[in-house]
Symmetry: C2
Amino acid sequence: MQPRQLTILGVGLLGGSIGLAMRSAAPRCRIIGWGHRLQSLQLARQMGAIDQAETDLAAAVARSDMVILCTPIGTFETILRQIASGLSRGCLVTDVGSTKRSIVRWADSILDKKVNFVASHPIAGSDRRGVEFARADLFKNHLCIVTPTSTTRATALKAIGSFWKMLGMRVAQLSADEHDRLLADVSHLPHLLAAALVAMQDEPALRLCGQGFLDATRIAGGDGGLWRDILLDNADNLRGGMTRFQAEVSRVMNMLESGEPDALRNWLSAAAQRRQILVDQKLREMRAD
Amino acid sequence: MQPRQLTILGVGLLGGSIGLAMRSAAPRCRIIGWGHRLQSLQLARQMGAIDQAETDLAAAVARSDMVILCTPIGTFETILRQIASGLSRGCLVTDVGSTKRSIVRWADSILDKKVNFVASHPIAGSDRRGVEFARADLFKNHLCIVTPTSTTRATALKAIGSFWKMLGMRVAQLSADEHDRLLADVSHLPHLLAAALVAMQDEPALRLCGQGFLDATRIAGGDGGLWRDILLDNADNLRGGMTRFQAEVSRVMNMLESGEPDALRNWLSAAAQRRQILVDQKLREMRAD
């Protein structure tokens, strides 16, 4: 799908990177960026991520055939209410949020049937914030999950898939429920654990940390407000993941208590091996082009 | 301290890197490498990490004025017993193990007073194993902790400090007790948590993982046998660290349960900020040269 006019709501790292990627993928597309901070919008325009800056939501979405929400998920409901009446017939609306059940529910209840909403989660990013870190290749060879519902039109689903593929992504479909459950385990829980690992430390221990600790806690460097929204929105799945994580920890602590050196080594080796298989697989995917 | 003849017991990543670093820091020092695998020893000699390869322990340490144990900590007691009678008078003996209470206790009971033992923990490394990954600059600007006891001679302590400084390290002193307690929190606990985070995952979730998950679990890629030894040797401190970690997790899960958005954001932001301060500090230390 090649939109003629694309509106990016929230021109930060992700929104700005979509603009830059579109610049080369679809050079004739007009890109409108909306945001609160004039300074970010001006920078986005200077970088070539957007053609036009708007601080008025209705003006930003008017006449666009595609609109992408790139703001924190805590703002989604309000923004959908504010843009609903101003969207063009047939407009393709999507988002880049890290949870999917809420946005799907909101879109279903708020948006008119004359527009097409399909939720997206491009799994690419950085712990850095702001359009100054935007990159045209941020999405390249990464995975984008789209979460259609029973009311999603086949043409809209196809259009959203080809949009992300145009930006270099692999596209997979999941239900919003599956998405939120799986991402809780592999993204939201690791974030919470990394933050807890930082928070529990005493200063004298922190001073001795090596690169391993810094790597293990890198994800905890993300924006607090953004991640607060994600964790609250996915709290039920997080609880489930945490319960299974705690069970795994209990298992290994029991091996330590009872001094089972072979079981402990096997458990550690299995984790190391499993991660290596994953790394090899990711490398193959990233070299796919 | 510039040894005339240095014996490296175990020529893997750390042992090999010590050899390579010594090559430029003290080119007149003769370096003897001991190990089980002839192939590794030959590679170490080809790389210039050692001058002479030995598979016999007594021959390896004979006439050396410095000996460094670079094997897994589970082998330390046996090796100390095997080399004790063959060490030269005044020989400086140290190690690179990740725990310090056991080696200090073993050295105290096994080694003759005619040799000088001071335990070391150079906090540098990699999740990769083997001399093929050895690098002359592996230790540069990193921290080395030495753990003297009440019987450590001042001259020996000074000699071991200047040895690690010669390899480019910053040197700090802690008691073996303090070392093991602090490293449990900032290194051994993170390793165990990262391994549990991998082990708990279902395959469908793993397939969706992003770079954040790979970074968070990188430390879990370490060798299972090596880490088994470390975790078992430091099990009591690990338990203490785990209890405090679990308390931190309970705190944040309560914020999620009771829906305290402000408390949750503040907690996440504080962790992000604390980590950033740490990263900035580490960058300054690494740029110190």
